[in-house]
């Protein structure tokens, strides 16, 4: 597997406030990489540095094997970009904008624009100033995808999109990934990348504080197993299980709520010794794992 985005100690001081510090990033080909962090953490600064809009204070980076400064033109030829703070030519229609940008790319995108516009239900022949926020976002998305680039850099892509269009976007990402293309997706909300990302990097105060697969983050989250028994059961054997954080007894110990980190297998095995009436598991704690990174409760690894 080849690395599509790679940075070494990439640092950008931005005026007086910090931009990004010693960012070491590696995004592999064919993966959907979620770049997650609160507002002002340095997500957009990273992206704009990758695209040579900002010159790094120190450190280096490559995109598609090309240096971000010297190879910028070739990089942009093969990359689709959706800015986080999308600004468009208000007096043009969407169709005119796509024709213009296709010309600047020296590529014919007419067929792809039509496909994407149909997909996102976008009227191409109105002036952009007359579009709603959601429609403007669609224009940005079509522009990023229309030349079928190898790499997509999308800064908060689903802002303003309705749930139907978010789903459409999710399908588009999945198809793109299936074609072996790479997507770098930045967001400040987990739900935007929860369903699509393979790996997630969490950035806070300009530093990358954690990178792991989404599954790993999920398993790091607490699972909650609720067990209802035919007769009261002592919590003791469950407390002895590996990974159990706490056991709460309810209804005179005929129901136990077990909180587990990692695998819930030992708990299930233990429960099997008794007569189980019902069982339910939940892992709604993923959001909390990310929040703990955001707020700085977890130290950088």
């Amino acid at each position: 597997m080849t690395t599509v985005i790679e940075t070494h100690a990439l640092t950008k001081y931005y005026g007086e406030s910090l931009g990004i510090i010693d960012l070491d990033l590696a995004v592999e080909q064919g993966e959907v990489f979620g770049f997650l962090g609160p507002n002002g953490a340095g997500k957009s600064t990273t992206i704009r540095t990758l695209l040579n809009f900002l010159h790094p204070t120190r450190g280096s980076g490559t995109v598609l094997g090309l240096d971000i400064a010297s190879g910028s033109l070739a990089i942009k030829r093969r990359t689709g970009y959706l800015p986080g703070d999308l600004a468009l030519y208000d007096q043009m229609t969407a169709r005119e904008l796509f024709i213009y940008f296709a010309n600047l790319r020296k590529q014919n995108t007419t067929a792809m624009v039509k496909t994407l516009a149909d997909r996102f239900d976008l009227d191409l022949d109105r002036k952009i100033k007359d579009y709603s926020t959601g429609n403007r976002q669609k224009v940005g998305l079509v522009n990023a995808f229309m030349h079928e680039p190898e790499l997509l850099i999308l800064d908060e892509p689903t802002g303003g999109l309705d749930p139907l269009m978010q789903l459409q976007f999710q399908y588009l990402v999945e198809e793109t990934k299936a074609q072996g293309r790479t997507i770098f997706l930045s967001s400040h909300i987990l739900s935007e990348i929860d369903r699509v990302a393979d790996r997630v990097g969490i950035v806070r105060d300009g530093r990358l504080v954690a990178v792991d697969t989404l599954d790993a983050f999920k398993s790091a989250a607490h699972s909650v197993v609720s067990l209802r028994f035919a007769s009261p059961v002592s919590p003791e054997p469950f407390l002895a299980c590996e990974g159990v954080v706490s056991v709460a007894a309810r209804d005179a110990e005929s129901m136990l709520v077990v909180t587990v980190t990692g695998s819930i297998d030992p708990v299930i095995k233990t429960a099997a010794r008794y007569e189980v009436v019902s069982i339910s598991t939940g892992s709604g704690e993923l959001e909390e794992v990310f929040l703990s990174y955001y707020s700085g409760d977890v130290d950088a690894r």
Binding site: L54, H55, Y81, L86, A87, Y100, L104, L124, K127, D130
Partner: protein, 561 residues
């Protein structure tokens, strides 16, 4: 200052109010100062005697009272200048009161607070009233202060009545703008229509003395309520009551209309009005794509963006040039008129407008130059070039559109060169249109100006514009985020203009005059009276230098957010 809609509105417009008030004080002092020079002057009286009575009445001049302080001020200050001032402030403030907030979408936020629309509208009206009162009060106070100094012999009652009338006049038109703004939700409609109505009102009143049939309609003009009975001389009139009642009625109508209308949003501007005015409500669909042949490159797209602007400016200048040429035959056949051209205006005043040698005015080349190439032309091309740099480059970066453009596979150099070439071409279009009009007019009216000079004068004009456009570009490349490029360049242009003008008058300054780009362009000989000059080369070198600097710097710096 943020305690209520009223105080917030006042705070938002504090600079504008301060500016208009200062303007009112300066205007009043100027008019009063001029009075001191013409008061009791026999020549002035003779002069007035010579002018036909109809013409005088157009400006409200009554020969019997004109040379008294009150009569003079009524004409010079109250019949045209201060109405322009107060109506100008009134309608801009009122048009933006509700409509501007609707257009920007902040009205939605405002009205989501527990406050009803009538309340918002009334508080905004109060803001307008306070603004206009400031101006009227400033004029009144200035007059009261200068009254004894210049022996104007004004009565306090007269000053009060005239300024209350002025306030009432401003409020009537402000309230009109309020009504239109509240009904349509668009600032430009409110401004345009009210402006039209006020001009109409002025004309009807002014011409009623000449045309009898205007007598009846003129009674409905707020100007007749305001000016009738000469309030400065005679004190309060019934017209004041009409002004007050009309204002109140209009504000009431505005409140009524504002309450029953759907608020417009950013994307959907006042649908019910559109459907009322157009038989079939169409979406704002355009025949898209338009002008595909101009969407091929950055340069061509930039031409497309500025097409309206360039045709507007070029058309205006061409019309001026045409009119100047057309006026020449009549002038040149009348020696008195020619001598008048040279002597009528003080040399100092001519020098300030860049005409350092008035003798040339008696020649076709000098006369045509003076109107198009020495005064209006330079201003137009400079405003055009700086404006193009601002909208095509500076604003695109600040808004973030440049991010999107540069995410395409093209270097910053390519993008900037494309835009710079477009600006140069557009300026060349203006110069080209003027050249063509000049060449043709030269033949039609047999002005015998050298063909080469017509061409080089336009080259010089274009280079002057591009020089300042280039300066703006250079400053922008060095200081991208401050947004000062356009402002500083405008300031430098103004300073250069003054330096050239004043430099030709003040001996001590004359060496520095050679530093002014205006001197390089204008020199001491009108542009149409000479061919290529060293000054043009300097301007060209400057354009090149600024462009290279901008391209080099833009390549190596960060894009602003």
């Amino acid at each position: 200052m943020l305690g209520s809609v009223f105080t917030k509105a006042l705070k938002d417009r504090r600079l504008s109010i301060a500016g208009w008030t200062a303007g009112a004080v300066v205007l009043t002092q100027f008019v009063v100062a001029v009075y001191s020079t013409i008061a009791n002057s026999a020549e002035m009286l003779d002069f007035i005697d010579q002018i036909p009575e109809d013409m005088l009445s157009l400006f409200g001049v009554d020969p019997a009272t004109f040379l008294t302080g009150a009569g003079y001020l009524q004409v010079q200050l109250y019949s045209l200048m201060s109405p322009i001032l107060i109506i100008g402030l009134g309608i801009t403030a009122a048009a933006s009161a509700t409509a501007a907030e609707e257009q920007s979408g902040t009205m939605d936020m405002q009205l989501s607070m527990p406050i009803n629309r009538t309340n918002v509208l009334l508080q905004k009206t109060a803001m307008v009233l306070v603004s206009l009162t400031a101006v009227a009060l400033a004029i009144a106070v200035t007059l009261i202060a200068t009254n004894p100094i210049f022996e104007l012999k004004l009565s306090i009652e007269g000053i009060a009545a005239a300024n209350i009338g002025l306030l009432g006049l401003g409020m009537v038109f402000a309230a009109t703008a309020l009504v239109i703004g509240a009904y349509t939700g668009t600032t430009s409609t409110a401004l345009g229509l009210t402006l039209l109505l006020s001009v109409l009102g002025w004309f009807v009143n002014a011409f009623s003395a000449i045309f009898g049939w205007l007598e009846i309609p003129s009674r409905f003009s707020p100007f007749s309520w305001y000016l009738g009975g000469n309030p400065l001389l005679n004190g309060g009139t019934s017209g004041l009551v009409w002004l007050g009642l009309t204002t109140a009625a209009l504000v009431g109508i505005a409140a009524f209309l504002f309450n029953r209308r759907d608020l417009s949003t950013e994307t959907n501007l006042v649908p019910q009005i559109r459907s009322r005015w157009r038989s079939t409500e169409k979406k704002r669909a355009v025949t898209s794509p338009r002008a595909v042949w101009l969407l091929r490159s950055i340069a061509e797209k930039s031409l497309w963006d500025r097409r309206r602007s360039v045709f507007g400016w070029a058309g205006g200048l061409a019309a001026l040039l045409l009119a100047t040429f057309a006026a020449w035959p009549a002038l040149s056949s009348d020696p008195d008129a020619l001598a008048g051209l040279v002597d009528a205006v003080p040399r100092e005043l001519l020098a300030l407008t860049g005409i350092s040698d008035p003798e040339y005015l008696a020649s076709a080349a000098g006369f045509v130059s003076s109107r198009t190439y020495q005064s209006i032309g330079p201003v137009v091309v400079i405003v055009f070039a700086i404006g193009a740099v601002s909208s095509l480059i500076v604003k695109e970066e600040r808004r973030g559109v440049l991010d999107l453009v540069l995410s395409n596979p093209l270097s910053r150099r390519t993008a900037l060169v494309g835009k710079a070439v477009a600006i140069a071409l557009l300026t060349a279009v203006i110069a080209g249109v003027l050249s063509l009009v000049g060449l043709v007019s030269n033949i039609i009216w047999s002005t015998d100006i050298e063909v080469v000079n017509i061409l080089t004068a336009n080259v010089g004009l274009a280079l002057l514009g591009l020089f300042f456009g280039g300066l703006a570009l250079g400053l922008w490349s060095l200081f991208p985020s401050s947004g000062s490029a356009v402002g500083v360049t405008t300031g430098v242009a103004l300073a250069g203009y003054l330096l050239n003008g004043v430099g030709s008058l003040v001996d001590g300054l004359s060496p520095f005059r050679k530093l002014s780009p205006f001197y390089w362009y204008l020199g001491d000989v009108p542009p149409l009276a000479h061919g290529l000059s060293v000054g043009y080369l300097l301007l060209g070198a400057g354009v090149l230098l600024f462009s290279v600097l901008a391209i080099w710097r833009f390549d190596s710096r960060d894009l602003a957010v």
